[in-house]
Symmetry: C4
Subunit: 509 residues, 4 copies
């Protein structure tokens, strides 16, 4: 057996081209030339580090060992010779903090006031408060805005273009009023709910979100452990930092999980993933249907644009007017040709119930039923796909107006802007089976698994308090009579189109 | 007879456990071990000071001598040996000011802009203006925000979670417009009103609010004296700083009082209180029905969370995710099982007319009538219970839409956000018998009894001016034709639910 | 004949009581003891200066020589001995500027953001811009806010309590949209209008406002001269700084004037004023009906409260919770018992057409017609009377909804918040005969007569431009089809009350 | 042949009167006395520089050599003697930057917050970001606000009076929501559109805007080249900095152009221009009908007012209360008498299809059809004409409500506030043939032709993304069912006037 070779960074840097591409990760050198074309995140994300050390970038989004699993053994070249020029190994958080360089942004003057920004004037040293001092989901967001790297904060907090849908998701829910009932015995209260056949201690679950390692080294593992501790369901992202099996293993026996699915343009890979999910005991598949292409998340793209400037790779990363934010990178493999007929295929391959995530009109809810979906998730991707899309809560009301019978045929999920127990109660009162909570759980990861549990307890307590103050004791007793939606009723669409706009465009010649 | 012993603080500190708990108050030492379980404010509030001097905390909320009345004589242990380490006795206000330590809050960066906050940049030395310079309720609030302790300000000014209901209470009333009539003889004007059978010089009264000693040593006594001087009615809180009898005694002969009632989970105590109230000549009972559990008042809870950190008791105060604000503490004894059938019991025990405080829907107003209430108070606890609940003025309009006949069967009271004479006139024009004014009276206490009188005069003058400018001379002549509610009419619920939402949830399996 | 005596200030100061009250004005000493009771501005305004020099306060609001006209010759006591302690004679503006002392206000922390305030940070030296640099009414307001004394600014700019009506007056007009028509010959345009039988070059006129000397020594005289130069009508306030005859004389032959009338509780005085007006050729009487008592203008009252503190009179000015602002002082003589039947009397005594100024509902417009008024002015006193009253433009729309026939029976005037030519065009398109412009003309007085002319030209140019861009050439051709009021239509009252509120209060027992 | 004379500035300055007016441009001296009366921008614009060097002002708005083309050879007087007092020749940008003098503005305190202003605190040195860092139209605006001269920025960014229409143009479009459809094959997408018979790669085109040289020396030439590169249509302004032929020549063969037309009060000149346009292959004429007179753009006029102060010409520029901004100057020659009958003449003279630019009501759209227009452009001049006019998108909805058949008879264009691909998609879904993009293209000129291309690519990418996320692949398939306009439906006029306002003014006597 050959002696393992040790190479200096100078040696590696000769292999910095698409047709001859090496990278060093954790002091091991790999030949990734052939891998470039099948990297789910796209070749460019690797080419930035061609002929260079990619440890930090790798660790931010991938679990340890994922590379070894993926590459054939003969792609291992040798060990990296330690260099005085290189920084010592450091934790992700430290490295990422260092990445937050003080260099001025490219467009410092253009900060649209609606954009979710990190506070302009950070204190010299931010003291992260103790977990018990956080008493709301908003508190977690505040801490995350101060402790995440700028890149992670931009990726998580950003939404499409002018943040209109992102903002209105929350605002419209808040404009729904309660009509509390009084003088009921509310000594005991139950928030337990059956979701897609699974028992849950709450009518909310962890909405899928990509790359949880950006927030904490344990990433999705911490979410799984927290979910187990609190008896809630986690919906795992296709773009998780950890392999699906690792996440499932992190939980407890029979813990219910759902899988969020981006169908790959290479359908075989999707089939493989679905079979794996079935074998792991996943309880349902949430197929994302609102993002055949990624939305334009400007904060994410601006951060990426800055990174390009400081990249030292020989492969020039061209900014192609579409930006190169993480959202765009990760969407490169997503199938743009997914159609209604594919639902049957997904059901067949996985043998699992299918929920369509991203339904945004009553018409598509009806079609979902016809094409065999078990449920729909009214979602606009947290405002990250098409800015201007109807807020989720409005689509929920649209179902009542246009196809009320759908509530007896499908399970109706909803997400986007639900940050309070009272927000969740409103959705359930209006017929939602359960509510997805996304960003808040990512932000809770700044405290690891304990943060996940604490956030869940905060939401559960808010929900219980809201139920008691509404005069109900079982979440299944929530009903539309508990809410007054008059403030937003006029925004609900009447049908396929306006009743007073009958014009239709002529067919294209 | 034994010689009275004198003990040092060191001695006391040995008794710092739940099963052996001493505290010193005003240089007297008491054994409160057995009292822990029956303290209306909960054991924890005392355990914070187990084995320690609790004078300051006691004085903030309790009247002098209340302890002696409550504890058996054999619980008196002895006198406290004066110590150089202890601060000299000081007034409440001074002590409280000292309490406002300059240590940074736990979550300095998260200050939701909608939260009622003390101004960030206090002047170095705030000069409290002379009383005659205050010309509105808002002026009193401003002074209070500068002169109350942070804890008192947080307790009084806070409301549930995002302050939506708190804010909309006032905002919706302000969106109602007047339609003044002209060319009427308005030389003489009368604001006198009969409220629950009592003569009042005004159609507004002092809404109940807990712990008035936080604002002034005379607390509820000053309110009683001011009410007497101005001929208005005071509704006394169950959680008053002073005993009911002391408050009644502070007034004049035949002065009308109402009692706000939190029913105790120990019904015998409630029965005792009601009999006492009847014997003292109280004119009616306002049973709180909108707070079987306390709302989540974040400002209040944040202050409490900070206090925990600085507490030096051996008993560890666990922050249980539900916060430990004064609101939560005081609600511990409140009956969560109160139901409609209990109304009859309260009437029977007290022999007094009963008003339900916290009715928030037309449906419950109708039930209140059926169950024998004399009146209802449309209230959401000043936005302190369920955030998102319909603003009070909207419920008043809902009665017109759904059950207009109720105005002939019940007395209708309303509170929440009424700070101007014109606000009060709007409610009366829309059928309210009287309007409760809460926070402004607490704030007026920063000037003691004189403040109470001055605020009353300001409101009365505003009301008279508004009546004259509307062309009426007797408050009983106010009618809906004087107001234009078009700006909020679309927010009024149509019935038990939406007319276009017919779906109801399936029964739980 | 006796020698005229000369007295020192020390001598005068002995006569500082209500029953023995002397004041010095322009170095002449007068006994005003008997005059105290009949001073239209109230005794208190004089008692502040009892036994003292009142020159400055007198000059701020009264024309020179008015005192000599009013008092009998035997009330003249003698000449004031010049003193080194007294400031040399100075112009009003200089004296007033000095009055703006740097002492801190009583309530510096309470500045409701909606209150029209002088900018917090004045430049060290404000450079008044040249007149030609002012291109809008808002520019005049800005200059006035910097150059008027705080007292004058507070009196002019203030409105009742929370400024809701003041703010909405302007806001609702701005929410009306234009529907411009195109391709019309707009080479020549005419804005001339017949107002109450008088020819005017514009469909707007100078709305009455009190005490123009606060802004400029020439006060109402400058307004009269400017109106003459521009061919517009001035409506003179009952509370003008100059006598009616002096104002009329300041104009040109046959110049049209209207008189605004506060009916005096001493009707004989009103009769005298009306006969004088008729003899001077005044063309119509605008009887104020929206202010039987003055509104609560807090900015005005706060300034007054401060002045009280610095007053050095022996007569203590009690702040009576109603404030003592100029608005309250000047309203003391106003008849609170004026009723519909008095209209006939005013017509008879004056022989002039009568317009009711301050009509705020369709019902009263109908009554105005029945009681013989020639017109109505839809007004809420610029938001200075009852805060919360319907904005004027809304009342104009209410007439269309409830009593559209009134437009053929009465002349309809409107004022409150009209600051642009386009605002004026909107009102005229909706049926207003003419629009009153108030505060902007007071502010224009900071440039004297030239300011009045310049403002008129600015408004006229804006109006002509708006007409041309709407495709009309004669202001009489304006019609409702040019505007889109949909944004505020829902705010218009439907009738005497809500169609869905049928409840009426029971009669008082 | 005479020797060419060389004169000093002193010599020239003797000819500084309207009846004897010389100016020096690029060191050549011209007699412009006779030209004064026929200068499209008015005599005053030249008289400011009478007897002086006008090079800088000339270059800002006119192309090199335009003067030689216009003036007869005998108007050339001679060469200017270089002077030490004069600055060396400099580029436009540098000169303009110098022009931005630090002298304080005339009205520094009056900055209406709604006015589009340059940021108050410019960084000491603004670093223009690289083009690839700009990812939205808003980014271009930000850069332009920092790099244009104050005069150019004021001219481009300003709108009429209070900017209400300017602001609402964009705001109302943003309030329209999308109703995305899912599970469509969106791999390939086409944005190509036929506009007035021309092929365009997009359903948007460059809206006409005057004086592009203010932003870049290449001005309209850069726009033409950028349009050619991207396959889009440019509509050239009558007030372009370059001659029409130069602009057309800058493009490629058969590149489609439209001509925006201000009809000259001297009709012969318009006829000449139209014949020239036809000979150059222009494809259509957009006749401006919303600006018979210019709107009042206050920011533009304030800048002009300041310039007057620093002008050193002997001819006194009188500020005539109408301001003297560039908008007013350039409008001096515009025909105020243009009427419907003139449409036929324009069509006849040019032989080209005519589109009416500035239609603002359904009624005029119907008339446009009757009078033979090929299309209408729903426009309010970007809010620059009549402030308060209905936003363009509202007029588009008005067509649906009042005259839906018009969509089959006319091409419907729209502009005003469209800055995102999603904005454009909304308009097309509601029946617009194409959308004009104006200011963003002017701002893109700060990067010359490359900026024009980059902006086009950004908009095209946004449009494609929005189409995909809406589930359509061909722009011609956009239809009203994709949008929810409920939030603004209530603002749409019902007909010629309100259905509830029947009153019409009496005819003028």
């Amino acid at each position: 057996m050959e002696a393992r070779q040790t190479l200096s960074l100078d040696e590696i840097q000769k292999h910095n081209r698409p047709d001859d591409c090496w990278v060093a990760i954790e002091e091991k050198i790999w030949d990734v030339t052939e891998f470039l074309d099948i990297h789910p995140g796209g070749a460019e994300a690797i080419l930035k580090y061609a002929g260079n050390d990619a440890t930090q970038a790798y660790n931010e989004v991938h679990a340890p060992g994922m590379l070894e699993e993926t590459l054939a053994a003969d792609k291992f070249i040798g060990d990296l010779l330690p260099s005085n020029d290189m920084p010592p190994k450091s934790t992700i958080i430290e490295a990422a903090a260092a990445e937050a360089s003080p260099q001025p942004p490219l467009l410092p003057q253009h900060q649209p006031s609606t954009q979710a920004q990190q506070p302009a004037s950070l204190p010299l040293v931010y003291q992260k408060p103790p977990l018990h001092a956080l008493i709301s989901a908003a508190d977690f967001q505040t801490v995350a805005s101060h402790t995440l790297t700028p890149k992670a904060w931009a990726f998580y907090s950003s939404a499409a273009t002018d943040l209109i849908t992102h903002t209105q998701n929350k605002a419209l829910t808040r404009r729904i009023m309660f009509r509390p009932r009084i003088l009921k015995d509310v000594a005991h209260v139950s928030t337990s709910r059956t979701i897609l056949g699974c028992s849950s201690s709450t009518p909310f679950f962890i909405s899928p979100a990509a790359m949880a390692r950006l927030a904490h080294p344990s990433g999705e593992l911490a979410l799984a452990r927290g979910a187990a501790a609190e008896g809630i369901v986690q919906c795992i992202s296709s773009n998780a930092s950890y392999p699906l099996s690792a996440i499932v293993d992190a939980g407890v026996t029979d813990q219910p999980f759902f899988l969020q699915l981006y169908v790959n343009s290479d359908r075989a890979k999707t089939a493989e993933l679905l079979r794996k999910a079935a074998s792991l005991g996943i309880k349902g598949v949430f197929v994302t249907v609102d993002a055949p292409v990624p939305g334009k998340r400007e904060a994410d793209e601006r951060i990426a644009a800055e990174a390009v400037v400081s990249a030292i790779s020989g492969a020039v990363a061209s900014n192609d007017k579409k930006g190169g934010g993480m959202g765009r990178l990760m969407a490169q493999y997503v199938e743009k040709r997914l159609v209604w007929q594919d639902i049957a295929w997904i059901k067949e391959v996985s043998g699992l119930p299918v929920v369509l995530k991203g339904v945004q009109s009553a018409a598509d809810a009806v079609l979902a039923c016809e094409y065999g979906a078990k449920g729909v998730m009214l979602s606009n991707h947290g405002g990250r796909s098409l800015d201007g899309a109807q807020p989720s809560i409005l689509v929920l009301l649209e179902l009542h107006r246009i196809c009320p019978e759908i509530f007896d045929k499908l399970e109706i999920y909803v997400d986007g802007g639900f940050e309070r127990g009272s927000d969740i109660l409103k959705a359930v009162a209006l017929g939602a089976t359960a509510v997805g909570v996304g960003r808040p759980y990512l932000y809770s990861l700044t405290y690891g698994e304990e943060g996940v549990e604490h956030l869940t307890q905060v939401l559960k307590d808010e929900l219980e308090t809201s139920m008691r103050l509404c005069g109900i004791t079982d979440i299944d007793d929530a009903h539309p009579g508990l809410v007054n939606t008059q403030d937003i009723d006029h925004l609900v669409a009447n049908g396929e189109s306006h009743d007073w706009i009958r014009w239709r465009p002529r067919a294209k010649i």
